[in-house]
């Protein structure tokens, strides 16, 4: 029996890991992206404190709503100003 493929016929390409790790011990600019879930800010506040203790600069950013992807402008801002990003997930 022959059937027709019900899928989009494109195996997920996968996402490569970051090409390089941040160098140990060197200060960096790190974005904290709040996805706007309740209490996500509590988690991020603590992360910001820990990062600042280690000499990193933190850029606090947030998605307009957790229900939708981050807007392109926000992604561009993070990519251009930061060397790493930490996205806070809740639930």
């Amino acid at each position: 029996m022959r059937i027709l493929d019900p899928t989009r016929e494109s195996a997920p390409g996968g996402r490569p890991l970051a090409r390089r790790r941040l160098p140990d011990g060197q200060p960096a600019t790190i974005a904290l992206l709040d996805i706007r879930k309740p209490r996500g800010d509590v988690f991020l506040d603590e992360l910001e404190r820990l990062l600042a203790e280690r000499g990193h600069t933190v850029l606090r950013t947030a998605k307009p709503t957790f229900t939708k992807p981050a807007p392109a402008d926000l992604r561009e801002e993070i990519a251009s100003r930061c060397e790493a990003v930490i996205e806070a997930l809740a639930d």
């Binding site: 029996m1 059937i3 307009p64």
Partner: protein
């Protein structure tokens, strides 16, 4: 001029005409005889009739499809490959005349003057479907990749193994079945219906048809499925978030309009339940498109903590004949004579019983109390709801002369509660509104962001003083908004 004769092995009329055709050919007449049957069947027929030569075969019924006779024997008169005349079945005078125009003589003495032929093999439903599928592939109407299921594989098990199923058996989407589904719409199979989250799969009409076949859709429901997929892919519906949320909601399809009944949907007793193929398969087809074209699978992209049975299929048709107001889709812009679908991000439906209310005011208060518990009584403004009035509840509002706007407004007002009852920690319940946001504990806090965020539909059986509530997912601009589409463009 030449003659082309199409025959088959199990046709007694072919048996009567074939010897005359064979004899004329042997004597040099320009006659080509082709059999629609298999090689061994054709050889056996030639032996049985003592033919001088075994008829040629018609591989894949290519010439039979081209000339497309209703019956065989079919004798065509060709002029440079183009047909100028034909005789189907046995008609001695016409056959003799046709042969004469090709310079041949047919010896038909002793045969009946007229006898109807047998159905051409191309008229066999199974063969016709196979030929239609081949033609669709050749013409580019079918472009999806073909997958082979091994002879030793059970096709139903194979579809589970390949990850195409939602957990229940699916109908194998053979090219023949998909072509049959595609015939239910005037749209080109390669038209784009929408881009489906989470992986932005392109849902062409063809891809939706494949999934509709798997869902078990009767073909006449296919335009409804297409409209539902189009609605689900509207960015306002926020399908990506809906697929990936931990919340149990999924897409609910509400069908409003005359097509619902014509395609066999049930809007009366058990309208939201089992037993109706059209309703269940429309909802299921949409979910299979999300799974297979969009790529959203439970436990992977779909992170629902519990899910709910409606994520297999969630669809119902509105009962409009005795509804207190026009259909949901019509209220949202679809012309009255058309059928529309409205998609909502919704949980499982839940019952509200009120068997005692006899006035519209009493009933509105009772239903509002039920609506307050969507998600949690203390969660305000974030969730919409769809209230499906049963006919016995709908009658109360109809007799009171309350239209849709009035009922919404009354439900909006009556589902407010004092802030002091909703504050975090009150009555030992942690969930609630932050205390710092409350200045007056007696201030009334609406449950819903606006009256129009309470959607109303009408469906169900004649008996039962019940209504049903579908709670929504995160609503409005920060979440998912209901999306309505007319079915007409997809018919």
């Amino acid at each position: 001029m030449e003659l082309l004769a199409l025959v088959k092995h199990d046709c007694p009329v072919c048996d009567q005409v074939l010897p005359a055709l064979d004899q004329a050919r042997r004597q040099g007449a320009p006659i080509r005889i082709l059999s629609q049957s298999e090689a061994d069947e054709t050889e056996a027929q030639a032996r049985r009739l003592h033919l001088a030569a075994v008829p040629e075969l018609d591989p894949d019924l290519e010439l039979s499809s081209r000339f497309d006779p209703d019956a065989v024997p079919a004798v065509m008169l060709l002029d440079g490959g183009s047909e100028t005349d034909r005789v189907e079945g046995l008609d001695r005078a016409r056959l003799a005349e046709l042969a004469g125009r090709a310079g041949a003589t047919l010896h038909l003495d002793g045969l009946p003057e007229r006898r109807p032929g047998c159905a051409s093999l191309t008229r066999d439903p199974v063969v016709a479907a196979r030929l239609a599928a081949r033609a669709a592939r050749r013409s580019g109407r079918l472009r999806a990749r073909e997958l082979e299921i091994g002879e030793l594989e059970d096709p139903f098990e194979a579809l589970f193994d390949r990850g195409f199923s939602d957990g229940l058996p699916v109908v194998p989407p053979t090219p023949e079945r998909v072509v049959d589904m595609l015939a239910a719409t005037s749209r080109d199979p390669q038209d784009l219906v929408g881009v489906v989250a989470p992986y932005d799969g392109e849902a062409t009409v063809e891809k939706v048809a494949i999934n509709a076949v798997m869902a078990g859709c009767p073909p006449d429901t296919f335009p409804v499925v297409l409209a539902a997929v189009e609605a689900a892919c509207d960015p306002a519906f926020a399908l990506l978030g809906l697929v990936s949320t931990t919340h149990p909601s999924g897409p609910l399809v509400v069908v409003s309009g005359p097509l619902a009944e014509r395609v066999g949907m049930n809007s009366a007793g058990n309208a939201l339940g089992q037993g109706n193929r059209a309703t269940l398969t429309v909802g299921r087809a949409l979910q299979l498109v999300v799974r297979n074209v969009g790529g959203g699978k439970p436990g992977q992209e779909d992170r629902a903590a519990h899910g709910q049975p409606g994520k297999l299929s969630s669809c119902f048709a509105e009962r409009l004949a005795d509804s207190p107001w026009p259909g949901l889709a019509q209220d949202r812009g679809v012309p009255a004579e058309e059928t529309g679908v409205t998609l909502l991000a919704a949980e499982s439906p839940r019952l509200i019983v009120d068997q005692l209310a006899r006035t519209a005011q009493e009933l509105a208060s009772s239903l509002a109390a039920g609506l307050e518990w969507v998600s949690h009584r203390r969660l305000r403004l974030a969730f919409d709801a769809l209230l499906v009035l049963g006919p016995e509840h709908g009658r109360v509002f109809r007799q009171a002369g309350w239209d849709r706007a009035r009922v919404r407004e009354e439900l909006f007002v009556r589902s407010q509660s004092p802030a002091g009852e909703l504050v975090r920690g009150a009555a030992g319940i942690a969930e609630g509104i932050e205390a710092q946001l409350i200045t007056d504990p007696q201030a009334q806090v609406p449950k819903f962001a606006a009256p129009e965020r309470i959607l109303l539909a009408h469906a169900g059986g004649d008996a039962g003083l019940f209504s049903m509530v579908y709670g929504g997912w995160v609503a409005g601009e920060i979440g998912s908004q209901p999306v309505t589409r007319s079915v007409a463009p997809w018919q």
